[in-house]
Symmetry: C2
């Protein structure tokens, strides 16, 4: 029996590993060659971790699973009648059972043109892009002779007050106030202005009010200006409009909205407003018990009828659940509904600052931060990554040393809209 | 007094650090934001090390040197009459003393069109480009239904048998035979063919014949075919021509020739055939005692009249020498000629395989490899990099684990000439 898995994120990978001992031919297709530990991606974007500590080749993970094949390819459509998926060059791959775990991408509320100026944070490429944007901005500021011009480059706007937005804002504040100390002569990075914009009346909307309030106070103590009940009305190459107000800056990070992978539309089944597939209680697609959708691409509900959040634990448990159904060859009419076991939620704001909620237990500060570190290291995919992440964190904690402040490519080779302002060209003058 | 240093490689950085206590205003300009430990760059290109272990922001290195400013900019010309350098956007920076350490780039013996198909290895960008090329090639081979087509993608040609070429060939052989074991289902990476092409009658031409012969045997035992007295006559998108013979492959690495930075031509002084400035015994430019050229950009001679090689120790000692002249304010007529203290040379072929020559002492095998590891870790710029390199080597040594097998960017966003063959597009299906 051919089981085809689309996507090597938390959902797809756990489904694959759950089928290790099953009598199936497994094919996992992803357009990246690596599994990415997305919860720590913001630390790559903010120079704290190197890419390889949170990304592992999918092939390496499944090397010792003989029933699993891995393919690097971009799927463009699913043909559920012919039971096959179609990749960009026209090749088709058949399946008996299909597990769709293609994840989500950023959504711009009907303004796709904003993406060029306000990149989101989903892939390793996104993280390196944002990292270079931030680092280049300080380089530009240092070269400015005009003070107002320099201030513009030292302004940062993060749109969206969920965990990613909060973590990015906190990390950029730490870059400005700690990592760059003594590095510049014409500018003072400590004078950077960081804005976090959230439409609702609290940041971290999924958290209890008190914890969200603590997180906000923490951010403010680090120099972040938190703007609640505030909506972005336009984003241009020059900056962000929030109603009448204009924040002039080239540094905008989008952490406000998600949209499931566009390949799901080819399923021709009902999607929710984030374009996720509204799945059956067994995570299958209505009318197609042989197609499952899991992770950020699925809209499923807990027992109270609340939609499950797009977080790693949901994807992991869904992957395991589906693998179990397949491995045990459970007939369609005897599948028990998927149940999510909620272990809690947590978000980090900065060094020794975090908030966490586990059941009725609420934590903040150093203890919550330790718990956050512990859980994240625990969920990393390989032993060596755990070691390398811990060591890089130790350096960061002890010396505020962000070891990955690298602008890899000359500006001219990148798509960066502002690159004409810096004059790097392809010919090396250094080294 | 204004001292302007061009380039933050070994030469420029040692000059800057040697002037820490001098009463000068120092400005270091580089187009990269980092100092790069080039001797280990091939290990980034072959997935063994992560970028941040061999690259350190120049600002961070000079953070605690108050007399030093750092600027990210691309210098396009030197105006020696007006005593200023000109950067790409037209800005000028004046100097009293100029230290030129802009390094070298690959040269293609009058065939600049080969660069697109046979990238060289000088910058972090180059290394990541080659890394992705190699990794993608195996991904393509795995997707081939045609066996001959797959073989093409599993062929690798390295042009140039100097240390870089030898190290690259050895590392690619280790990738094929060790790192990728069990990772593929349709292809056997062990069947890869690796060619090392050298025009002279021995690889490692600077080494004694016996050592070069040992290195060649080592490479052959690892599955590399070494072609001596062989010249590349053409390079196309399809492969390499060596006279009548054609090796069909998209995987070509250029390690055959260097050429000093093009900005040196604006000095309007005699250059050697590698376009390096033929410097005076005190490393200054003829007629301009206030302009020094050091490192790979300089053509200088040892006491026997032999030109000094383009290696890190020469650049380091030259940087220190020039800093000393400036710090001690030694008058032009009392400058003693630069003398290179040759500590020896070494090259590594693979795990526990290397050759080394120190004075009259010749070493090979495990001992030479240990010495190579020791020296390279010792010369790394920061303590944390030493730790992280050692740990990544430990993993490589114990588990053959190349932790950095990452294809970061979707193929469609790269300049890779063959990307139409893979079908990745910007829309993520994974994660």
């Amino acid at each position: 029996m051919k089981v085809l898995i689309v996507g090597g994120g938390f959902g797809g990978l756990n489904a694959a590993q759950g089928l290790k001992k099953a009598d199936v031919e497994l094919l996992l297709i992803d357009r990246a060659n690596h599994h990415l530990f997305q919860p720590l991606l913001y630390q790559v974007a903010t120079s704290a971790l190197s890419s390889s500590t949170i990304a592992v080749p999918i092939r390496a993970i499944l090397a010792k699973q003989p029933n699993a094949k891995v393919l690097l390819a971009d799927i463009v459509a699913i043909d559920k009648e012919a039971k096959q998926v179609i990749v960009a060059n026209g090749d088709t791959y058949p399946y008996d059972i299909l597990i769709l775990a293609p994840g989500a991408s950023h959504a711009y509320f009907g303004h796709p043109e904003w993406e060029a100026y306000a990149p989101g944070l989903k892939t390793l490429g996104d993280a390196l892009h944002i990292r270079e944007k931030v680092l280049l901005s300080y380089e530009r500021a240092e070269r400015c002779t005009d003070h107002a011009e320099a201030e513009k480059f030292m302004r940062f706007v993060i749109v969206g007050g969920g965990p990613t937005g909060v973590e990015m804002a906190g990390a950029i504040a730490e870059i400005a106030h700690k990592a760059l100390t003594l590095n510049f002569r014409n500018i003072k990075p400590e004078q950077s202005k960081i804005y976090l914009i959230e439409g609702l009346d609290q940041i971290l909307p999924a958290f209890p009010k008190e914890l969200a309030e603590k997180a906000k106070k923490n951010l403010e103590s680090m120099g972040v200006e938190v703007l609640l009940k505030t909506f972005v009305t336009d984003i241009t190459p020059q900056g962000v409009y929030i109603g009448e107000r204009f924040i002039e800056t080239p540094n905008i990070v989008w952490a406000a909205g998600n949209e499931a992978s566009p390949i799901l539309t080819s399923l021709d089944v009902p999607l929710d407003r984030s374009r996720r597939v509204i799945v059956q209680p067994d995570l299958s697609v209505p009318g197609h018990p042989e197609i499952f959708v899991i992770g950020d691409a699925a809209c499923s509900y807990d027992k109270k009828g609340k939609p499950l959040p797009g977080v790693a634990p949901v994807a992991i448990q869904q992957g395991q659940y589906v693998a179990n159904l397949i491995r045990k060859k459970i007939p369609v009419d005897r599948r028990k509904p998927f149940k999510y076991f909620d272990k809690g939620m947590m978000a980090t704001i900065g060094k020794a600052k975090a908030v966490a909620k586990m059941g009725k237990l609420q934590m903040s500060g150093f203890i919550a931060w330790l718990a956050w570190c512990f859980v994240h290291v625990l969920y990393l995919i390989s032993f060596s990554n755990r070691i390398f992440v811990l060591m890089q964190w130790l350096y960061l904690y002890l010396f505020n040393e962000r070891r990955n402040r690298l602008i890899v490519f000359p500006v001219s080779e990148r798509e960066e809209p502002l690159h004409e302002e810096l004059d790097n060209s392809k010919s090396p003058t250094g080294h």
